[in-house]
């Protein structure tokens, strides 16, 4: 068999051809495509991006309203029991300090609160086993 040597052979062409006017048409096509990308896509994309950012921010803020409200109301409303517990266990305030802080209005309020009927008073006195002790004191 004859040994094939590339350099001894006449130059082998690739054999690839193109349609007629291919390169003219190609130039026109690509220039049109590039001009379109320049004039249309860039501004639209930018504007769209700004609007989407705004919309996303608005949605996030509106979604946060109930959460913020919840935390605010929770932190402001300390119930009476918590306050009482705090004062009795966590602070040095004793009943004398409290009495010092009372003004005339408070005393009036207290008086009206403890304005007991005589019957009730009698009931309490009769049912209380330490009555004698209280009287002597």
């Amino acid at each position: 068999m004859k040994t094939f040597k590339l350099e001894n052979e006449p130059k082998i062409k690739s054999g690839f051809t193109t349609p007629e006017h291919y390169f003219n048409d190609f130039s026109a096509k690509i220039l049109e495509e590039i001009n379109q990308t320049q004039t249309k896509v860039i501004p639209l994309y930018k504007r769209k991006k700004v609007w989407t950012t705004f919309a996303a921010a608005a949605v996030v803020v509106s979604l946060m309203i109930p959460i913020v409200n919840h935390y605010r109301s929770a932190s402001n409303d300390l119930d009476a029991a918590t306050l009482e517990n705090y004062i009795s266990y966590q602070s040095n305030i004793n009943q004398y300090d409290l009495i010092q802080k009372l003004d005339d209005k408070d005393i009036q309020k207290l008086n009206s609160n403890i304005a007991l009927e005589e019957e009730t008073l009698e009931d309490i006195l009769s049912s209380n086993p330490n009555i004698e002790h209280l009287i002597t004191e």
Binding site: F4, S14, P19, F26, I30, L31
Partner: protein, 180 residues
């Protein structure tokens, strides 16, 4: 001939952009088409890849630092686009890139944009058996008749390594054609 830097400025300036890009197209579309066609083999695929190449060139022109020549930068983009295209097409068909090329070569005889006979087909079949780098070097040297220095700049290798690659490629091709 105008300075390359000046030409790139013209390509970036909106006022001169159109005419500069027209010049770029008329200078490079034919050699880049040949380069791409030699890799992807079919005209339709070469047309797609050439379009992608010029669009990419246009998009990335503002990032072109001028570290290499415009010529080699564009050839590099074309090479990458063509190889990526081949690999994606092969993957889509569930076959290897080599099988895909063999299939395309078998179809070349029926291709209206192929004017070759047995020897061209045999040569293409021989080239497919080579490693990717040797295929590229052989096609760029033998078909496109680029200088070693130009190929070295495009592929980022030394001239010495390219000469060795080409030499190996020729030997393997001669062996294939002799025995087939």
């Amino acid at each position: 001939m105008i300075d390359e830097k000046e030409f790139i400025q013209q390509l970036l300036d909106p006022k001169t952009q159109n005419s500069a890009f027209q010049k770029l197209l008329s200078d490079y579309q034919k050699p880049l088409y040949s380069h791409i066609r030699n890799i992807v083999l079919s005209h339709d695929d070469a047309d797609d890849v050439l379009q992608n190449t010029f669009v990419k060139v246009f998009q990335h022109l503002k990032n072109f630092k001028g570290e290499s020549k415009l010529f080699s930068w564009m050839y590099r983009i074309a090479t990458n686009e063509a190889l990526t295209f081949l690999n994606q097409k092969a993957k889509l068909n569930g076959i290897t890139a080599e099988d895909l090329q063999n299939k395309t070569i078998d179809n070349l005889k029926a291709d209206v944009y192929f004017d070759g006979d047995e020897i061209q087909i045999k040569l293409q079949k021989a080239i497919v058996t080579l490693p990717e780098k040797q295929q590229l070097v052989f096609k760029m040297k033998y078909f496109e008749e680029l200088k070693y220095e130009e190929i070295a700049e495009i592929l980022g290798t030394s001239v010495g390594a390219l000469k060795a690659s080409y030499h190996h490629a020729v030997k393997k091709i001669e062996l294939y054609v002799t025995s087939n």
